[in-house]
């Protein structure tokens, strides 16, 4: 794993509350190579955002109990001093938040907010920082950047604010960029512009990107690898082709079956996952997905008693399910794929 920029090993983030221990992330392991994009998908409450905040060290000061390892370029951020994490945050790793209107401060101009991190991490004057901000705004495609730099966030439209957020994240050339639902608040046409921008910038800067979203379409457009999370654990991990072409986990099948899609013939019925996501205080025993899984009985009760380990079903394709690789393949091709409608092979 020479090329790995980020390695997360057995990460656990728990929050003690009055009602019990919330296991938001519970034994998560993945790797991200330089220049690659990892998509993290899952329903709300699956631990996607908690993971990203954990990587950035933003749980410090809260009640969170964090264990495991987060290795950024070999340096363990979980054990590191908060001051050191602060140094890295903004310079080596940065984040694009979901809702630019609430993530930006309404009292400061867009330019001031973009240059803030740059001023902290570099020994430069305000003039240089301002020029740098204008360059960045130009780079993310804001017209008349030299005058818009003095505007306040409310003077920007939703799409422009998201561009400004991206400029802010890029201000110190981060090697790791985490985008948490970067386009959820945007219209499709603007979403398309932002997705293109993220991929252009990634090519230019060569950063590694983690994109967190519930939209499988967005993930497919941007990601090399995909991690499917369920109840704070990884359910499946593989390349985008693995996940969309031959998914192995019943939860991944459920996600694909729930989604009406434009590129396939319209199906009469969607195939939703039954039930609701589990409570993170009382995670179901064994495989956390078993109460909602339609194939749990095939494992002969193992799903209810034993937590499934991530197993390699094909090189680089890991699935945490008690079904054998053979069973997964058969069910996917014979039962699920046919129901998803006649999409043309390509």
């Amino acid at each position: 794993m020479a090329g790995a920029l980020l390695e997360v090993r057995d990460l656990r983030i728990h929050f003690p509350t009055d009602d019990g221990l919330v296991k938001a992330v519970d034994g998560l392991t993945f790797t991200l190579d330089r220049g690659h994009t990892l998509g993290i998908v899952g329903e709300s409450g699956s631990g996607k955002s908690v993971t990203s905040l954990g990587i950035l060290g933003l749980h410090h000061g809260g009640s969170a109990r964090i264990s495991g390892q987060i290795l950024l370029d070999g340096e363990n951020l979980v054990a590191a001093d908060p001051g050191r994490v602060r140094e890295l945050r903004g310079s080596k790793m940065a984040m694009i938040f979901q809702d630019p209107l609430s993530a930006m401060h309404p009292y400061y101009t867009v330019g001031q907010q973009i240059s803030e991190a740059y001023l902290i991490h570099n020994k430069v004057g305000k003039k240089v920082a301002r020029k740098h901000s204008i360059d960045l705004l130009n780079r993310v495609g804001i017209p008349q950047a030299s005058s818009r730099v003095d505007d306040y966030p409310h003077q920007f439209s939703g799409g422009m604010r998201q561009r400004a957020m991206i400029a802010m994240a890029l201000s110190c050339d981060p090697e790791l960029l985490i985008a948490d639902e970067p386009t959820t608040a945007l219209d499709v046409t603007v979403q398309a512009q932002i997705l293109d921008l993220i991929s252009d910038l990634q090519e230019e800067y060569g950063s590694a990107v983690i994109i967190i979203t519930h939209d499988l379409g967005v993930v497919a457009e941007l990601s090399d690898d995909i991690l499917v999370m369920y109840a704070g654990r990884s359910a499946e991990y593989g390349t985008a082709e693995d996940l969309f072409g031959r998914p192995g986990h019943p939860y991944a099948w459920g996600l694909l079956g729930s989604m009406p899609r434009l590129d396939a013939a319209r199906t009469e019925r969607l195939l939703p996952i039954k039930g609701t996501p589990p409570s993170l205080i009382n995670v179901p025993s064994g495989c956390p997905f078993h109460p909602r899984c339609g194939y749990a009985e095939l494992t002969g009760g193992k799903s209810i008693t034993e937590v499934p380990e991530l197993r390699e079903v094909a090189p680089g394709h890991l699935v945490a399910c008690h079904l054998t690789a053979e069973q997964q393949r058969t069910i996917w091709t014979e039962q699920i794929k046919v129901k998803l409608g006649g999409r043309e092979e390509g």
């Binding site: 293109d196 497919a220 969309f244 039954k274």
Partner: protein, 355 residues
């Protein structure tokens, strides 16, 4: 159904048999200056002349980007807002300017499903009170009492009737949306306007609610107007689809026709912008980008919409005529109306009669 209606639609009369028909529906919100001497300085032209009709048991989908006036349209249809102009006929009655008292009986027939299941349920009321509220407000005594009626409704939408005395916070987002739907159904309405009914929900839950809406339609013979920004959701649930841009309808057609061969450049661009859950790789294994039509910029302000064709500022096909003459919503082929001078996906022979 829609094909037989369309002939009447183009002549501008209310088509026979339509449950709801709307002509020239307009809503302008005044923009005023001054505190003591208030005077109007302009108007937000949120909805600017819509013509469409909805047949009984049909689902009409209304799509468009934020700010195109789809929510305002929904509120006009339920008469939560007073239209500035135009006419609305519901079930043979003109409901355009009914007063509050006159609207009361009509509220039983037209109901709304709201977007946010968190803010649309009163946190201090039990599920029983929430779902039973329409009976109380309309002074209706259901057979067998309110409690039984509510429990039947809960069962109908797939909730446990035992949960009658629980509070909204004890339910998940999807369950809350079901509570909202149960409340909507209490008075057995004929028309339901659903404003983004699933956009606040997770994908798996979204599918459950979409299936539920379909089942209820089949079971109870409901008519829906579904407002949504998600093109794939609209395609899944609608029989006919209307596309809005800046307060105007730009295209309205049968679902399959619209999605197979969209005619308006805006519709074409919207569809190409939807990310497809199918990764594309080039021969050397690199991730590749899908070819799509890129619209630049944002939707112009409805305070001062562009003249003539409102889409011309972002349209790649725009010519002089688009800036000077507004294209009418013309019927290109039966049941498919488009407001464009240069529609896409049209062979020369078809384009001729549209002029």
């Amino acid at each position: 159904m829609s094909a037989s209606l369309s002939a009447a639609e183009t002549t501008g009369q209310a088509p026979a048999g339509a449950l709801l028909s709307v002509t020239g529906l307009t809503k302008h919100f005044p923009v005023t200056r001054g505190i003591i001497l208030r005077h109007q300085v302009g108007a937000v032209r949120a909805v600017d002349g819509l013509d469409f009709s909805v047949a009984p048991r049909e689902t009409l989908g209304l799509v468009g980007e934020s700010g195109c006036g789809k929510t305002t349209t929904g509120r006009l249809l339920t008469r939560l807002l007073e239209p500035t102009g135009g006419q609305m006929m519901f079930d043979g009655h003109d409901i355009t300017h009914l007063r509050m008292g006159q609207m009361r009986p009509l509220r039983r027939d037209i109901q709304m499903i709201f977007q946010d299941p968190y803010s649309s349920l009163n946190p201090r009321h039990t599920v029983g009170t929430i779902v039973g509220a329409p009976y109380r407000l309309q002074h209706v005594r259901p057979e067998g009492g309110v409690r039984r009626a509510v429990q039947e409704l809960l069962e109908l939408v797939g909730l446990n009737p035992e949960h009658y005395n629980r509070y909204p916070h004890e339910f998940s987002g999807g369950q809350r949306q079901r509570i909202g739907i149960a409340r909507t159904l209490a008075l057995r309405p004929k028309l339901i306007v659903a404003d983004e009914p699933v956009s606040a929900l997770d994908v798996s839950i979204q599918a459950q609610v979409l299936n539920l809406l379909e089942d209820l339609q089949n079971e109870l013979g409901l008519t829906y107007v579904v407002i949504a920004h998600d093109l794939s959701v609209v395609r899944h649930i609608s029989d006919r689809v209307a596309v809005m841009y800046l307060g105007k309808l730009v295209e309205i057609a049968d679902r399959d026709q619209l999605y197979a061969l969209p005619r308006h450049p805006y519709t074409v661009a919207l569809m190409s912008a939807v990310p497809v859950p199918e990764p594309v790789r080039s021969a050397d294994g690199r991730r590749q980008r899908r070819e799509r039509i890129r619209l630049t910029g944002d939707v112009p302000s409805p305070l001062n919409p562009p003249p003539a064709c409102r889409f011309h500022t972002r349209c790649w096909k725009a010519q002089e005529i688009c800036r000077t003459q507004e294209p009418p919503l013309a019927e290109l082929i039966p049941g498919h109306r488009v407001a464009c001078h240069f529609p896409e996906n049209t062979s020369a022979t078809e384009a001729a009669p549209a002029g």
